[in-house]
């Protein structure tokens, strides 16, 4: 049987290497990564397949499906890969490539805006009320003082992340739910 691959992007693998997936070439498709993956059986994120797609240059299949954003970053695949090919690092690299194309989920945008405007991944006012309820000492972290938040804004503004994460000056937090973290 002859298989013909159309629309492959030969540059994808080099870009993945440049963006942090340095050892992607080491993958020999054993499947150890998927065997410990907590999301493999419940989502379209199939890490073994993703590694193969990178090597074949199938960037549209990877980026359009958005499945790379379903990785919980548990690092089990990276820990157990017998080739040390760093599958989680490949996912991070693909997320960075995806973000450059403007493909990024809402939760990432929301948590980044929280951090940029409040100094924390979650809203602060609810936290201050809870602290009073349990007699916790006054908050002293970034969320307690605008001067610290301005420091964070200044250093984030020195990177490309503001653009990639769609950080907006007129942003208002959506609510007090904890949306995304480690």
């Amino acid at each position: 049987m002859k298989i013909v691959l159309n629309n492959t992007n030969k540059e994808l693998v080099n870009k993945v290497i440049e963006y942090g997936g340095k050892r992607v070439y080491e993958c020999f498709q054993c499947g150890m990564c998927a065997s410990g993956c907590p999301v493999a059986s419940d989502t379209d994120h199939k890490i073994k397949r993703t590694m193969h797609q990178v090597l074949l240059g199938l960037d549209e299949q990877i980026l359009d499906k958005k499945a790379i954003w379903l990785c919980t970053t548990c690092f089990m695949c990276l820990e157990r890969c017998p080739q040390n090919a760093g599958p989680t690092e490949v996912v991070f690299a693909l997320r960075r490539i995806s973000a450059e194309k403007g493909i990024i989920p809402e939760a990432q945008i929301e948590v980044a805006n929280n951090i940029y405007h409040l100094g924390h991944a979650v809203t602060v006012q609810k936290g201050i009320k809870l602290r009073e309820k349990v007699d916790a000492p006054p908050l002293t972290t970034a969320g307690a003082n605008k001067k610290y938040i301005h420091e964070i804004q200044k250093i984030v503004d020195s990177t490309h992340a503001g653009l990639l994460l769609k950080i907006r000056k007129d942003w208002k937090p959506k609510g007090d739910d904890v949306i995304a973290c480690d």
């Binding site: 410990g36 907590p38 999301v39 419940d42 989502t43 954003w69 379903l70 990785c71 919980t72 970053t73 548990c74 690092f75 089990m76 820990e79 991070f92 997320r95 960075r96 973000a99 990024i104 989920p105 809402e106 939760a107 990432q108 948590v111 980044a112 951090i115 100094g119 924390h120 991944a121 979650v122 809203t123 602060v124 609810k126 936290g127 809870l130 602290r131 309820k133 349990v134 916790a136 908050l139 002293t140 972290t141 970034a142 969320g143 610290y148 938040i149 420091e151 200044k154 250093i155 984030v156 020195s158 990177t159 490309h160 992340a161 990639l164 994460l165 904890v178 995304a180 973290c181 480690d182």
Partner: protein
């Protein structure tokens, strides 16, 4: 070994100070009773986590971590992280910046704009390492007044305390034992359950992006935990804690029967030391009062 084994810069992160400040109280008060001084890191921001900044650009994650590390450096104290995510990303950044001069220079060019500098003079530890390696099991045993004899705990390590192990070096990634030992120091039995090292399903942006999947992963984890019929779940990560606490409520709202009490380790340690429940273990959506009454005799 640490700079001063009894002095740490307390990096609280986001979830503990702003959603579960009772956990923060439990850490401050138990550490004090164990003779360890923790100092506030004034102005510390989000670590930041892998789900957001690291996922789009390495430098944006590094500069924020470096800012946090520089705060601890200015205090001449090692960092004690009390969240797995914070521990993983702060320790990883610290190692990267210590070993890569080019990255360090780039980061310092940015930090210079806010009058800060990363120097690479401190280390990052997880609370579990401080308790187990620096304080020691014997001292913890001696500090408790109430023994939890007969109580069974399902220990959940969480991902970012263990992996990637070549960076974190906090535990044996396939056979960790420190949190189990700490739990057993309280008199409890740490029970076996299948896939103990698997993810709770919260991280990487999953909880925010896909509520259905996050609950499905949690449900599998809880089914494995239920296998050993524990009296409670114990973790030392606030995001895992949140996932077990709010996630079980989410599953109950869908008509499923999951109601296992969840504790951050220092909450149980504090209760065993005789500290009051209101300050150290009163905020949760999944009820814990039954456990506290049964094993501590406190209403």
């Amino acid at each position: 070994m640490s700079l001063h084994a009894t002095d740490y810069a307390l990096y609280t992160g986001c979830i503990i100070p702003l959603r579960y400040p009772d956990i923060e109280n439990s850490i401050r008060e138990t550490m004090s009773l164990l003779g360890v001084n923790v100092y506030d890191m004034l102005g510390a921001g989000c670590c930041p986590p892998g789900g957001a900044f690291w996922s789009v650009e390495e430098m944006s994650g590094l500069v924020q971590s470096a800012r946090n590390l520089s705060i601890a450096e200015s205090m001449s104290k090692d960092v004690m992280a009390v969240c797995n995510g914070c521990f993983c990303y702060l320790k990883n950044s610290n190692m990267l910046l210590k070993s890569d001069q080019e990255k360090r220079e780039k980061v310092n060019t940015v930090l210079n704009k806010i009058g800060r500098k990363y120097q690479g003079t401190i280390s990052v530890y997880h609370l579990v390492e401080v308790l187990h390696d620096h304080i020691g099991i014997e001292k913890i045993k001696q500090s408790t007044k109430i023994k939890l004899d007969g109580a069974k705990a399902a220990v959940h390590y969480g991902c970012h305390l263990l992996r990637p192990s070549d960076h974190l070096m906090a535990e044996n990634p396939e056979k960790p034992h420190k949190l189990d030992a700490l739990v057993e120091a309280l008199g409890m039995e740490s029970v076996y359950y299948p896939k103990k090292l698997s993810c709770c399903g919260a991280g990487g942006g999953m909880r925010g992006n896909n509520p259905d999947v996050t609950l499905r992963i949690l449900e599998k984890k809880l089914m494995n935990i239920k296998y050993s019929e524990p009296d409670c779940i114990v973790t030392a990560c606030p995001f895992c804690f949140l996932q077990f606490d709010l996630g079980q409520k989410g599953l109950r709202d869908r008509g499923e029967d999951f109601c296992i009490p969840v504790f951050y380790y220092n909450q149980l340690l504090g209760l065993s030391m005789g500290l009051p429940k209101k300050r150290i273990a009163s905020l949760s959506e999944t009820p814990r009062d039954g456990f506290i009454k049964k094993f501590y005799g406190v209403d």
